[in-house]
Symmetry: C3
Subunit: 213 residues, 3 copies
Amino acid sequence: MTPQALLLAFELVGVFAFALDGALTAMRWAHLDLFGVVALGVVTAVGGGILRDVLLGELPPATFRTWYYLATATAGALLAFWAHRLLARMTRPILVFDTIGLSLFSVTGAQVAYEAGIGAGQAILLGGLTGVGGGTLRDVLVRRVPSILTGGLYAVPALLGAAIAVTGPLLGLSVTVAALAGGLWCAVLRTGGVIRGWHAPRATLESPRALDE
Amino acid sequence: MTPQALLLAFELVGVFAFALDGALTAMRWAHLDLFGVVALGVVTAVGGGILRDVLLGELPPATFRTWYYLATATAGALLAFWAHRLLARMTRPILVFDTIGLSLFSVTGAQVAYEAGIGAGQAILLGGLTGVGGGTLRDVLVRRVPSILTGGLYAVPALLGAAIAVTGPLLGLSVTVAALAGGLWCAVLRTGGVIRGWHAPRATLESPRALDE
Amino acid sequence: MTPQALLLAFELVGVFAFALDGALTAMRWAHLDLFGVVALGVVTAVGGGILRDVLLGELPPATFRTWYYLATATAGALLAFWAHRLLARMTRPILVFDTIGLSLFSVTGAQVAYEAGIGAGQAILLGGLTGVGGGTLRDVLVRRVPSILTGGLYAVPALLGAAIAVTGPLLGLSVTVAALAGGLWCAVLRTGGVIRGWHAPRATLESPRALDE
Protein backbone atom coordinates (compact mmCIF):
# COMPACT_ATOMS: atom_id res chain seq x y z
CA MET A 1 0.00 0.00 0.00
CA THR A 2 1.56 3.27 -1.03
CA PRO A 3 1.67 6.12 1.48
CA GLN A 4 -0.87 7.99 -0.71
CA ALA A 5 -3.32 5.10 -0.62
CA LEU A 6 -2.82 4.73 3.13
CA LEU A 7 -3.42 8.45 3.62
CA LEU A 8 -6.69 8.22 1.68
CA ALA A 9 -7.73 5.12 3.60
CA PHE A 10 -7.03 6.89 6.90
CA GLU A 11 -8.98 9.93 5.74
CA LEU A 12 -11.99 7.87 4.73
CA VAL A 13 -12.00 5.96 8.01
CA GLY A 14 -11.83 9.31 9.79
CA VAL A 15 -14.71 10.63 7.69
CA PHE A 16 -16.76 7.54 8.51
CA ALA A 17 -16.05 7.79 12.25
CA PHE A 18 -16.89 11.49 12.36
CA ALA A 19 -20.11 10.86 10.40
CA LEU A 20 -21.19 8.28 13.00
CA ASP A 21 -20.20 10.72 15.73
CA GLY A 22 -22.11 13.66 14.25
CA ALA A 23 -25.18 11.56 13.50
CA LEU A 24 -25.28 10.11 17.02
CA THR A 25 -24.88 13.64 18.40
CA ALA A 26 -27.83 14.74 16.28
CA MET A 27 -30.03 11.98 17.73
CA ARG A 28 -28.78 12.37 21.28
CA TRP A 29 -28.70 16.14 21.68
CA ALA A 30 -31.03 17.64 19.15
CA HIS A 31 -33.71 15.03 18.37
CA LEU A 32 -33.37 15.64 14.65
CA ASP A 33 -35.11 13.78 11.86
CA LEU A 34 -33.31 11.66 9.26
CA PHE A 35 -32.28 14.61 7.08
CA GLY A 36 -31.00 16.55 10.09
CA VAL A 37 -29.05 13.51 11.24
CA VAL A 38 -27.43 13.11 7.82
CA ALA A 39 -26.72 16.85 7.58
CA LEU A 40 -24.99 16.98 10.97
CA GLY A 41 -23.12 13.76 10.24
CA VAL A 42 -21.81 15.06 6.93
CA VAL A 43 -20.84 18.48 8.31
CA THR A 44 -18.95 16.82 11.19
CA ALA A 45 -17.25 14.44 8.77
CA VAL A 46 -16.09 16.87 6.10
CA GLY A 47 -15.88 20.15 8.05
CA GLY A 48 -12.31 19.72 9.25
CA GLY A 49 -10.94 18.82 5.83
CA ILE A 50 -12.75 21.70 4.12
CA LEU A 51 -11.39 24.14 6.71
CA ARG A 52 -7.86 22.82 6.07
CA ASP A 53 -8.18 23.13 2.29
CA VAL A 54 -9.62 26.65 2.50
CA LEU A 55 -6.70 27.78 4.68
CA LEU A 56 -4.18 26.06 2.38
CA GLY A 57 -5.83 27.75 -0.61
CA GLU A 58 -6.38 24.34 -2.25
CA LEU A 59 -9.78 25.15 -3.73
CA PRO A 60 -12.24 23.63 -4.41
CA PRO A 61 -11.59 21.47 -1.31
CA ALA A 62 -10.77 17.77 -1.73
CA THR A 63 -14.30 17.03 -0.43
CA PHE A 64 -15.73 18.47 -3.62
CA ARG A 65 -13.11 17.09 -6.02
CA THR A 66 -14.05 13.42 -5.65
CA TRP A 67 -17.20 11.64 -4.53
CA TYR A 68 -15.39 9.43 -1.98
CA TYR A 69 -15.68 11.74 0.98
CA LEU A 70 -19.32 12.70 0.65
CA ALA A 71 -20.41 9.14 -0.11
CA THR A 72 -18.50 7.81 2.91
CA ALA A 73 -19.90 10.54 5.15
CA THR A 74 -23.47 9.92 4.00
CA ALA A 75 -23.07 6.17 4.47
CA GLY A 76 -21.74 6.65 7.99
CA ALA A 77 -24.60 8.96 8.96
CA LEU A 78 -27.22 6.61 7.50
CA LEU A 79 -25.67 3.65 9.29
CA ALA A 80 -25.78 5.54 12.58
CA PHE A 81 -29.44 6.32 12.01
CA TRP A 82 -30.50 2.76 11.26
CA ALA A 83 -28.24 1.05 13.79
CA HIS A 84 -28.50 3.56 16.60
CA ARG A 85 -29.85 1.09 19.14
CA LEU A 86 -26.96 -1.23 18.44
CA LEU A 87 -24.42 1.58 18.62
CA ALA A 88 -25.95 2.84 21.86
CA ARG A 89 -24.94 -0.44 23.50
CA MET A 90 -21.31 0.56 23.08
CA THR A 91 -19.70 2.34 26.00
CA ARG A 92 -19.81 6.00 25.08
CA PRO A 93 -19.96 5.62 21.31
CA ILE A 94 -19.74 9.35 20.57
CA LEU A 95 -16.46 9.54 22.46
CA VAL A 96 -15.09 6.50 20.65
CA PHE A 97 -15.90 7.73 17.13
CA ASP A 98 -14.88 11.28 17.94
CA THR A 99 -11.50 10.05 19.14
CA ILE A 100 -10.96 7.94 16.01
CA GLY A 101 -11.86 10.87 13.76
CA LEU A 102 -9.75 13.30 15.78
CA SER A 103 -6.70 11.03 15.67
CA LEU A 104 -6.89 10.18 11.98
CA PHE A 105 -7.70 13.71 10.81
CA SER A 106 -4.95 15.36 12.85
CA VAL A 107 -2.39 13.03 11.33
CA THR A 108 -3.63 13.08 7.75
CA GLY A 109 -4.41 16.80 7.89
CA ALA A 110 -0.86 17.53 8.98
CA GLN A 111 0.66 15.32 6.27
CA VAL A 112 -1.56 16.79 3.54
CA ALA A 113 -0.66 20.31 4.66
CA TYR A 114 3.05 19.52 4.82
CA GLU A 115 3.02 17.93 1.35
CA ALA A 116 1.27 21.08 0.07
CA GLY A 117 4.56 22.83 0.78
CA ILE A 118 4.02 24.91 3.91
CA GLY A 119 6.36 24.87 6.91
CA ALA A 120 6.40 22.11 9.52
CA GLY A 121 4.99 24.31 12.30
CA GLN A 122 2.09 25.49 10.17
CA ALA A 123 1.43 21.95 8.97
CA ILE A 124 1.14 20.78 12.57
CA LEU A 125 -1.28 23.59 13.35
CA LEU A 126 -3.39 22.87 10.28
CA GLY A 127 -3.37 19.18 11.20
CA GLY A 128 -4.76 20.06 14.62
CA LEU A 129 -7.38 22.27 12.98
CA THR A 130 -8.36 19.46 10.61
CA GLY A 131 -8.85 17.24 13.64
CA VAL A 132 -10.91 19.62 15.76
CA GLY A 133 -12.73 21.48 12.95
CA GLY A 134 -15.56 19.07 12.25
CA GLY A 135 -16.42 18.52 15.90
CA THR A 136 -16.32 22.26 16.56
CA LEU A 137 -18.79 22.94 13.72
CA ARG A 138 -20.97 20.11 15.06
CA ASP A 139 -21.05 21.62 18.55
CA VAL A 140 -21.75 25.16 17.33
CA LEU A 141 -24.66 23.90 15.19
CA VAL A 142 -26.32 22.06 18.09
CA ARG A 143 -25.48 24.90 20.48
CA ARG A 144 -23.00 23.20 22.77
CA VAL A 145 -19.77 24.85 23.93
CA PRO A 146 -17.23 23.05 21.69
CA SER A 147 -14.99 20.30 23.03
CA ILE A 148 -12.00 22.33 21.89
CA LEU A 149 -12.76 24.72 24.75
CA THR A 150 -14.11 22.48 27.47
CA GLY A 151 -13.27 18.90 26.88
CA GLY A 152 -10.32 17.99 29.04
CA LEU A 153 -7.66 17.27 26.45
CA TYR A 154 -8.89 17.81 22.91
CA ALA A 155 -6.75 20.24 20.92
CA VAL A 156 -3.55 19.19 22.66
CA PRO A 157 -3.68 15.49 21.63
CA ALA A 158 -4.57 16.62 18.11
CA LEU A 159 -1.56 18.94 17.93
CA LEU A 160 0.78 16.32 19.42
CA GLY A 161 -0.44 13.66 16.98
CA ALA A 162 0.06 16.09 14.12
CA ALA A 163 3.54 16.94 15.39
CA ILE A 164 4.56 13.26 15.42
CA ALA A 165 3.15 12.77 11.92
CA VAL A 166 5.13 15.71 10.52
CA THR A 167 8.40 15.39 12.44
CA GLY A 168 8.63 11.57 12.34
CA PRO A 169 9.64 11.42 8.67
CA LEU A 170 12.16 14.24 9.24
CA LEU A 171 13.73 12.01 11.91
CA GLY A 172 13.90 8.99 9.60
CA LEU A 173 10.60 7.22 10.31
CA SER A 174 8.54 6.13 7.32
CA VAL A 175 5.47 8.29 6.66
CA THR A 176 3.24 5.32 7.48
CA VAL A 177 4.87 4.58 10.81
CA ALA A 178 4.84 8.26 11.76
CA ALA A 179 1.14 8.49 10.93
CA LEU A 180 0.32 5.41 12.97
CA ALA A 181 2.40 6.58 15.91
CA GLY A 182 0.89 10.07 15.84
CA GLY A 183 -2.66 8.80 15.57
CA LEU A 184 -2.17 6.27 18.35
CA TRP A 185 -0.63 8.82 20.69
CA CYS A 186 -3.45 11.26 20.03
CA ALA A 187 -6.06 8.57 20.73
CA VAL A 188 -4.38 7.40 23.94
CA LEU A 189 -4.00 10.92 25.29
CA ARG A 190 -7.58 11.88 24.41
CA THR A 191 -9.09 8.71 25.85
CA GLY A 192 -6.96 8.90 28.98
CA GLY A 193 -7.91 12.53 29.40
CA VAL A 194 -11.63 11.77 29.31
CA ILE A 195 -11.53 8.61 31.45
CA ARG A 196 -9.25 10.03 34.10
CA GLY A 197 -10.76 13.50 33.93
CA TRP A 198 -7.37 15.09 33.22
CA HIS A 199 -7.57 18.77 32.75
CA ALA A 200 -5.26 21.73 32.93
CA PRO A 201 -5.42 24.23 35.80
CA ARG A 202 -8.45 26.49 35.86
CA ALA A 203 -8.72 30.11 36.87
CA THR A 204 -12.19 31.45 37.44
CA LEU A 205 -12.72 35.13 37.87
CA GLU A 206 -14.52 35.51 41.15
CA SER A 207 -15.70 39.08 40.82
CA PRO A 208 -17.90 39.31 37.73
CA ARG A 209 -18.53 42.98 38.28
CA ALA A 210 -14.85 43.67 37.76
CA LEU A 211 -15.27 42.43 34.19
CA ASP A 212 -17.86 43.29 31.61
CA GLU A 213 -21.50 42.45 31.43
CA MET B 1 -32.93 39.12 -21.19
CA THR B 2 -29.71 37.15 -21.43
CA PRO B 3 -29.21 34.19 -19.09
CA GLN B 4 -26.42 36.18 -17.35
CA ALA B 5 -28.73 39.13 -16.70
CA LEU B 6 -31.46 36.78 -15.47
CA LEU B 7 -28.99 35.03 -13.16
CA LEU B 8 -27.97 38.37 -11.67
CA ALA B 9 -31.61 39.44 -11.31
CA PHE B 10 -32.41 36.18 -9.51
CA GLU B 11 -29.43 36.60 -7.25
CA LEU B 12 -30.39 40.14 -6.30
CA VAL B 13 -34.01 39.17 -5.60
CA GLY B 14 -32.64 36.35 -3.44
CA VAL B 15 -30.34 38.77 -1.63
CA PHE B 16 -33.26 41.13 -1.02
CA ALA B 17 -35.52 38.35 0.30
CA PHE B 18 -32.83 36.98 2.61
CA ALA B 19 -32.09 40.50 3.89
CA LEU B 20 -35.77 40.95 4.81
CA ASP B 21 -35.71 37.49 6.39
CA GLY B 22 -32.57 38.14 8.46
CA ALA B 23 -33.74 41.58 9.54
CA LEU B 24 -37.17 40.28 10.64
CA THR B 25 -35.42 37.48 12.52
CA ALA B 26 -33.25 40.08 14.27
CA MET B 27 -36.33 42.01 15.43
CA ARG B 28 -38.36 38.93 16.29
CA TRP B 29 -35.80 36.78 18.07
CA ALA B 30 -33.04 38.99 19.33
CA HIS B 31 -34.54 42.47 19.88
CA LEU B 32 -31.63 44.15 18.16
CA ASP B 33 -31.23 47.84 17.38
CA LEU B 34 -31.07 49.25 13.84
CA PHE B 35 -27.39 48.41 13.33
CA GLY B 36 -27.89 44.88 14.60
CA VAL B 37 -30.89 44.44 12.31
CA VAL B 38 -28.88 45.62 9.29
CA ALA B 39 -25.90 43.47 10.27
CA LEU B 40 -27.98 40.29 10.58
CA GLY B 41 -29.89 41.10 7.40
CA VAL B 42 -26.67 41.58 5.41
CA VAL B 43 -25.01 38.44 6.82
CA THR B 44 -28.09 36.37 6.00
CA ALA B 45 -28.24 37.86 2.51
CA VAL B 46 -24.63 37.51 1.43
CA GLY B 47 -23.44 34.61 3.62
CA GLY B 48 -24.46 31.83 1.23
CA GLY B 49 -22.83 33.43 -1.81
CA ILE B 50 -19.60 34.16 0.06
CA LEU B 51 -19.45 30.56 1.27
CA ARG B 52 -19.92 29.34 -2.33
CA ASP B 53 -17.20 31.61 -3.70
CA VAL B 54 -14.73 30.68 -0.95
CA LEU B 55 -15.24 26.97 -1.69
CA LEU B 56 -14.94 27.57 -5.44
CA GLY B 57 -11.76 29.55 -4.84
CA GLU B 58 -13.24 32.55 -6.67
CA LEU B 59 -11.78 35.20 -4.41
CA PRO B 60 -12.53 37.89 -3.49
CA PRO B 61 -16.18 36.74 -3.48
CA ALA B 62 -18.66 38.30 -5.92
CA THR B 63 -20.16 40.13 -2.93
CA PHE B 64 -17.01 42.23 -2.69
CA ARG B 65 -16.40 42.64 -6.43
CA THR B 66 -19.43 44.84 -7.14
CA TRP B 67 -21.57 47.09 -4.98
CA TYR B 68 -24.88 45.51 -6.13
CA TYR B 69 -25.09 42.79 -3.53
CA LEU B 70 -24.25 44.83 -0.47
CA ALA B 71 -26.45 47.74 -1.55
CA THR B 72 -29.40 45.40 -2.18
CA ALA B 73 -28.86 43.63 1.14
CA THR B 74 -28.66 46.89 3.07
CA ALA B 75 -31.77 48.22 1.34
CA GLY B 76 -33.70 45.06 2.19
CA ALA B 77 -32.68 45.17 5.84
CA LEU B 78 -33.54 48.87 6.14
CA LEU B 79 -36.91 48.30 4.50
CA ALA B 80 -37.67 45.49 6.95
CA PHE B 81 -36.79 47.79 9.82
CA TRP B 82 -38.99 50.67 8.73
CA ALA B 83 -41.89 48.58 7.44
CA HIS B 84 -41.88 45.86 10.05
CA ARG B 85 -45.45 46.47 11.21
CA LEU B 86 -46.66 46.17 7.65
CA LEU B 87 -44.60 43.03 7.01
CA ALA B 88 -45.84 41.48 10.24
CA ARG B 89 -49.36 41.50 8.80
CA MET B 90 -48.23 38.93 6.25
CA THR B 91 -48.75 35.29 7.16
CA ARG B 92 -45.43 34.08 8.41
CA PRO B 93 -43.22 36.58 6.59
CA ILE B 94 -39.92 35.04 7.71
CA LEU B 95 -40.93 31.73 6.15
CA VAL B 96 -41.97 33.42 2.92
CA PHE B 97 -38.77 35.41 2.45
CA ASP B 98 -36.61 32.52 3.60
CA THR B 99 -38.23 30.25 1.02
CA ILE B 100 -37.73 32.80 -1.77
CA GLY B 101 -34.08 33.24 -0.86
CA LEU B 102 -33.53 29.51 -0.48
CA SER B 103 -35.06 28.73 -3.86
CA LEU B 104 -33.29 31.46 -5.83
CA PHE B 105 -29.89 30.93 -4.20
CA SER B 106 -29.92 27.14 -4.64
CA VAL B 107 -30.59 27.56 -8.34
CA THR B 108 -28.22 30.45 -9.03
CA GLY B 109 -25.54 29.03 -6.75
CA ALA B 110 -25.62 25.74 -8.65
CA GLN B 111 -25.46 27.45 -12.05
CA VAL B 112 -22.61 29.77 -10.98
CA ALA B 113 -20.68 26.79 -9.61
CA TYR B 114 -21.28 24.72 -12.72
CA GLU B 115 -20.19 27.56 -15.01
CA ALA B 116 -17.03 27.87 -12.92
CA GLY B 117 -16.09 24.49 -14.32
CA ILE B 118 -16.60 21.96 -11.54
CA GLY B 119 -18.54 18.72 -11.94
CA ALA B 120 -22.33 18.53 -11.96
CA GLY B 121 -22.54 16.70 -8.61
CA GLN B 122 -20.33 19.22 -6.87
CA ALA B 123 -22.22 22.11 -8.47
CA ILE B 124 -25.48 20.74 -7.06
CA LEU B 125 -23.95 20.45 -3.61
CA LEU B 126 -22.51 23.97 -3.77
CA GLY B 127 -25.91 25.23 -4.94
CA GLY B 128 -27.54 23.66 -1.91
CA LEU B 129 -24.86 25.21 0.31
CA THR B 130 -25.44 28.63 -1.27
CA GLY B 131 -29.13 28.27 -0.45
CA VAL B 132 -28.78 27.15 3.16
CA GLY B 133 -25.58 29.05 4.05
CA GLY B 134 -27.02 32.45 4.85
CA GLY B 135 -29.86 31.12 6.99
CA THR B 136 -27.47 28.84 8.86
CA LEU B 137 -25.15 31.76 9.71
CA ARG B 138 -28.22 33.76 10.78
CA ASP B 139 -29.40 31.01 13.13
CA VAL B 140 -25.95 30.42 14.64
CA LEU B 141 -25.56 34.16 15.33
CA VAL B 142 -28.89 34.45 17.15
CA ARG B 143 -28.31 31.09 18.86
CA ARG B 144 -31.02 28.99 17.29
CA VAL B 145 -30.48 25.43 16.07
CA PRO B 146 -30.28 26.01 12.29
CA SER B 147 -33.17 25.13 9.97
CA ILE B 148 -30.79 22.90 8.05
CA LEU B 149 -30.92 20.52 11.01
CA THR B 150 -34.43 20.87 12.34
CA GLY B 151 -36.74 22.43 9.86
CA GLY B 152 -38.73 19.73 8.19
CA LEU B 153 -37.50 19.92 4.63
CA TYR B 154 -34.79 22.53 4.16
CA ALA B 155 -31.59 21.15 2.66
CA VAL B 156 -33.44 18.59 0.56
CA PRO B 157 -35.55 21.09 -1.45
CA ALA B 158 -32.41 23.20 -1.92
CA LEU B 159 -30.48 20.22 -3.30
CA LEU B 160 -33.35 19.14 -5.55
CA GLY B 161 -33.79 22.67 -6.91
CA ALA B 162 -30.06 22.84 -7.58
CA ALA B 163 -30.17 19.45 -9.29
CA ILE B 164 -32.92 20.60 -11.67
CA ALA B 165 -31.03 23.80 -12.44
CA VAL B 166 -27.84 21.90 -13.32
CA THR B 167 -29.25 18.84 -15.08
CA GLY B 168 -32.05 20.63 -16.96
CA PRO B 169 -29.72 22.25 -19.53
CA LEU B 170 -27.92 18.89 -19.97
CA LEU B 171 -31.32 17.43 -20.90
CA GLY B 172 -32.07 20.16 -23.41
CA LEU B 173 -33.95 22.74 -21.33
CA SER B 174 -32.86 26.33 -21.62
CA VAL B 175 -30.88 27.64 -18.65
CA THR B 176 -33.69 30.05 -17.84
CA VAL B 177 -36.43 27.40 -17.85
CA ALA B 178 -34.28 25.03 -15.77
CA ALA B 179 -33.64 27.78 -13.25
CA LEU B 180 -37.34 28.63 -13.00
CA ALA B 181 -38.35 24.98 -12.69
CA GLY B 182 -35.70 24.27 -10.04
CA GLY B 183 -36.57 27.32 -8.00
CA LEU B 184 -40.30 26.62 -8.17
CA TRP B 185 -39.88 23.00 -7.16
CA CYS B 186 -37.69 23.98 -4.23
CA ALA B 187 -40.25 26.57 -3.07
CA VAL B 188 -43.19 24.17 -3.37
CA LEU B 189 -41.41 21.41 -1.49
CA ARG B 190 -40.20 23.73 1.27
CA THR B 191 -43.59 25.42 1.71
CA GLY B 192 -45.47 22.12 1.62
CA GLY B 193 -43.01 20.69 4.13
CA VAL B 194 -43.64 23.50 6.59
CA ILE B 195 -47.41 23.73 6.15
CA ARG B 196 -48.03 20.00 6.25
CA GLY B 197 -45.35 19.37 8.84
CA TRP B 198 -43.61 16.85 6.63
CA HIS B 199 -40.53 15.44 8.15
CA ALA B 200 -38.38 12.40 7.75
CA PRO B 201 -38.38 9.57 10.31
CA ARG B 202 -36.81 10.36 13.66
CA ALA B 203 -34.75 8.16 15.92
CA THR B 204 -34.21 9.41 19.42
CA LEU B 205 -31.74 7.69 21.65
CA GLU B 206 -33.67 6.72 24.74
CA SER B 207 -30.79 5.87 27.03
CA PRO B 208 -28.68 8.98 27.38
CA ARG B 209 -26.30 7.30 29.77
CA ALA B 210 -25.26 4.90 27.02
CA LEU B 211 -23.91 7.90 25.08
CA ASP B 212 -21.61 10.63 26.24
CA GLU B 213 -22.26 13.53 28.54
CA MET C 1 9.77 53.25 11.38
CA THR C 2 8.48 52.35 7.92
CA PRO C 3 4.72 52.15 7.33
CA GLN C 4 5.11 48.37 6.87
CA ALA C 5 6.84 47.99 10.24
CA LEU C 6 4.22 50.19 11.87
CA LEU C 7 1.43 48.12 10.31
CA LEU C 8 2.98 44.92 11.67
CA ALA C 9 3.44 46.52 15.10
CA PHE C 10 -0.21 47.61 15.14
CA GLU C 11 -1.32 44.15 14.08
CA LEU C 12 0.68 42.45 16.81
CA VAL C 13 -0.59 44.83 19.49
CA GLY C 14 -4.11 44.09 18.22
CA VAL C 15 -3.43 40.34 18.37
CA PHE C 16 -2.14 40.68 21.92
CA ALA C 17 -5.15 42.74 23.04
CA PHE C 18 -7.64 40.33 21.46
CA ALA C 19 -5.81 37.36 23.04
CA LEU C 20 -6.19 38.95 26.49
CA ASP C 21 -9.82 39.70 25.67
CA GLY C 22 -10.62 36.17 24.50
CA ALA C 23 -8.79 34.57 27.42
CA LEU C 24 -10.58 36.76 29.98
CA THR C 25 -13.88 35.92 28.29
CA ALA C 26 -13.03 32.22 28.60
CA MET C 27 -12.43 32.56 32.34
CA ARG C 28 -15.37 34.86 32.95
CA TRP C 29 -18.09 33.25 30.87
CA ALA C 30 -17.20 29.65 30.35
CA HIS C 31 -14.98 28.59 33.28
CA LEU C 32 -12.51 26.90 30.96
CA ASP C 33 -9.23 25.28 31.90
CA LEU C 34 -5.83 26.55 30.75
CA PHE C 35 -6.03 24.91 27.32
CA GLY C 36 -9.52 26.24 26.73
CA VAL C 37 -8.41 29.70 27.77
CA VAL C 38 -5.48 29.62 25.34
CA ALA C 39 -7.67 28.21 22.55
CA LEU C 40 -10.31 30.92 22.92
CA GLY C 41 -7.64 33.62 23.25
CA VAL C 42 -5.87 32.49 20.07
CA VAL C 43 -9.11 32.15 18.06
CA THR C 44 -10.21 35.64 19.13
CA ALA C 45 -6.78 37.05 18.28
CA VAL C 46 -6.24 35.53 14.84
CA GLY C 47 -9.84 34.95 13.67
CA GLY C 48 -10.37 38.36 12.13
CA GLY C 49 -7.13 38.33 10.16
CA ILE C 50 -7.72 34.80 8.87
CA LEU C 51 -11.23 35.77 7.74
CA ARG C 52 -9.78 38.79 5.89
CA ASP C 53 -7.09 36.73 4.15
CA VAL C 54 -9.55 34.01 3.13
CA LEU C 55 -11.86 36.60 1.55
CA LEU C 56 -8.92 38.31 -0.17
CA GLY C 57 -7.75 34.93 -1.48
CA GLU C 58 -4.34 35.49 0.15
CA LEU C 59 -3.82 31.91 1.22
CA PRO C 60 -2.41 30.49 3.41
CA PRO C 61 -3.37 33.40 5.71
CA ALA C 62 -0.66 35.64 7.17
CA THR C 63 -1.29 33.95 10.53
CA PHE C 64 0.21 30.75 9.13
CA ARG C 65 3.01 32.36 7.12
CA THR C 66 5.04 33.63 10.07
CA TRP C 67 5.25 32.62 13.71
CA TYR C 68 4.73 36.20 15.01
CA TYR C 69 0.97 36.13 15.21
CA LEU C 70 0.51 32.78 16.89
CA ALA C 71 3.34 33.38 19.35
CA THR C 72 1.92 36.79 20.28
CA ALA C 73 -1.58 35.37 20.64
CA THR C 74 -0.40 32.49 22.83
CA ALA C 75 1.67 34.84 24.98
CA GLY C 76 -1.32 37.14 25.48
CA ALA C 77 -3.62 34.29 26.45
CA LEU C 78 -1.08 32.82 28.88
CA LEU C 79 -0.50 36.23 30.44
CA ALA C 80 -4.24 36.67 30.92
CA PHE C 81 -4.41 33.28 32.62
CA TRP C 82 -1.57 33.91 35.05
CA ALA C 83 -2.36 37.56 35.75
CA HIS C 84 -6.13 37.36 35.77
CA ARG C 85 -6.50 38.67 39.31
CA LEU C 86 -4.41 41.69 38.44
CA LEU C 87 -6.28 42.30 35.19
CA ALA C 88 -9.62 41.97 36.97
CA ARG C 89 -8.74 45.06 39.01
CA MET C 90 -8.96 47.10 35.85
CA THR C 91 -12.30 48.71 35.07
CA ARG C 92 -13.95 46.44 32.56
CA PRO C 93 -10.80 44.86 31.13
CA ILE C 94 -12.62 42.85 28.43
CA LEU C 95 -14.10 46.05 27.03
CA VAL C 96 -10.71 47.78 27.08
CA PHE C 97 -8.85 45.01 25.26
CA ASP C 98 -11.71 44.39 22.86
CA THR C 99 -11.75 48.06 21.90
CA ILE C 100 -7.97 48.14 21.36
CA GLY C 101 -8.16 45.04 19.17
CA LEU C 102 -11.20 46.32 17.28
CA SER C 103 -9.59 49.68 16.54
CA LEU C 104 -6.20 48.34 15.46
CA PHE C 105 -7.59 45.47 13.36
CA SER C 106 -10.13 47.63 11.53
CA VAL C 107 -7.39 50.03 10.51
CA THR C 108 -4.71 47.48 9.63
CA GLY C 109 -7.23 45.14 8.01
CA ALA C 110 -8.42 47.92 5.74
CA GLN C 111 -4.89 48.97 4.77
CA VAL C 112 -3.81 45.37 4.11
CA ALA C 113 -6.89 44.81 1.96
CA TYR C 114 -6.38 48.06 0.05
CA GLU C 115 -2.72 47.27 -0.60
CA ALA C 116 -3.81 43.87 -1.91
CA GLY C 117 -5.39 45.78 -4.78
CA ILE C 118 -9.13 45.72 -4.19
CA GLY C 119 -11.35 48.82 -4.32
CA ALA C 120 -11.59 51.35 -1.51
CA GLY C 121 -15.17 50.42 -0.56
CA GLN C 122 -14.37 46.72 -0.35
CA ALA C 123 -11.19 47.46 1.62
CA ILE C 124 -13.23 49.40 4.19
CA LEU C 125 -15.69 46.53 4.49
CA LEU C 126 -12.92 43.96 4.86
CA GLY C 127 -11.28 46.20 7.46
CA GLY C 128 -14.50 46.23 9.46
CA LEU C 129 -14.73 42.45 9.11
CA THR C 130 -11.14 42.05 10.31
CA GLY C 131 -12.06 44.11 13.36
CA VAL C 132 -15.26 42.32 14.30
CA GLY C 133 -14.35 38.80 13.09
CA GLY C 134 -12.35 37.56 16.06
CA GLY C 135 -14.84 38.77 18.64
CA THR C 136 -17.72 37.29 16.69
CA LEU C 137 -16.05 33.86 16.59
CA ARG C 138 -15.32 34.20 20.32
CA ASP C 139 -18.97 34.93 21.11
CA VAL C 140 -20.32 32.12 18.92
CA LEU C 141 -17.97 29.61 20.58
CA VAL C 142 -19.05 30.53 24.12
CA ARG C 143 -22.69 30.81 23.01
CA ARG C 144 -23.29 34.53 23.42
CA VAL C 145 -25.14 36.65 20.87
CA PRO C 146 -22.19 38.45 19.21
CA SER C 147 -21.39 42.11 19.98
CA ILE C 148 -21.74 42.84 16.28
CA LEU C 149 -25.49 42.34 16.71
CA THR C 150 -26.19 43.63 20.19
CA GLY C 151 -23.42 45.78 21.46
CA GLY C 152 -24.45 49.36 21.01
CA LEU C 153 -21.89 50.59 18.53
CA TYR C 154 -19.55 47.84 17.37
CA ALA C 155 -19.50 47.39 13.60
CA VAL C 156 -20.08 51.08 12.92
CA PRO C 157 -16.94 52.36 14.70
CA ALA C 158 -14.97 49.59 12.99
CA LEU C 159 -16.23 50.63 9.55
CA LEU C 160 -15.63 54.34 10.23
CA GLY C 161 -12.09 53.66 11.48
CA ALA C 162 -11.43 51.58 8.38
CA ALA C 163 -12.85 54.34 6.17
CA ILE C 164 -10.49 56.93 7.68
CA ALA C 165 -7.52 54.59 7.27
CA VAL C 166 -8.28 54.00 3.58
CA THR C 167 -9.45 57.44 2.51
CA GLY C 168 -6.93 59.46 4.56
CA PRO C 169 -3.97 58.67 2.27
CA LEU C 170 -6.14 59.43 -0.77
CA LEU C 171 -6.71 62.89 0.74
CA GLY C 172 -3.02 63.49 1.33
CA LEU C 173 -2.51 62.20 4.88
CA SER C 174 0.42 59.88 5.48
CA VAL C 175 -0.53 56.23 5.93
CA THR C 176 0.67 56.36 9.52
CA VAL C 177 -1.37 59.44 10.45
CA ALA C 178 -4.47 58.03 8.75
CA ALA C 179 -4.09 54.74 10.64
CA LEU C 180 -3.69 56.55 13.97
CA ALA C 181 -6.65 58.83 13.28
CA GLY C 182 -8.88 55.94 12.17
CA GLY C 183 -7.96 53.77 15.14
CA LEU C 184 -8.45 56.61 17.61
CA TRP C 185 -11.83 57.55 16.18
CA CYS C 186 -12.99 53.93 16.30
CA ALA C 187 -11.87 53.60 19.93
CA VAL C 188 -13.54 56.86 21.01
CA LEU C 189 -16.82 55.98 19.33
CA ARG C 190 -16.87 52.44 20.70
CA THR C 191 -15.99 53.50 24.24
CA GLY C 192 -18.45 56.39 24.19
CA GLY C 193 -21.12 54.05 22.86
CA VAL C 194 -20.66 51.61 25.73
CA ILE C 195 -20.28 54.18 28.50
CA ARG C 196 -23.17 56.36 27.39
CA GLY C 197 -25.30 53.44 26.28
CA TRP C 198 -25.68 54.86 22.77
CA HIS C 199 -27.69 52.68 20.52
CA ALA C 200 -29.65 53.04 17.35
CA PRO C 201 -33.47 52.93 17.30
CA ARG C 202 -35.05 49.57 18.02
CA ALA C 203 -38.13 48.00 16.53
CA THR C 204 -39.50 44.98 18.31
CA LEU C 205 -42.20 42.93 16.72
CA GLU C 206 -44.98 42.79 19.25
CA SER C 207 -47.06 40.04 17.75
CA PRO C 208 -44.90 36.95 17.59
CA ARG C 209 -47.72 34.88 16.16
CA ALA C 210 -47.67 37.03 13.06
CA LEU C 211 -44.15 35.81 12.37
CA ASP C 212 -42.78 32.32 12.38
CA GLU C 213 -42.15 29.96 15.21
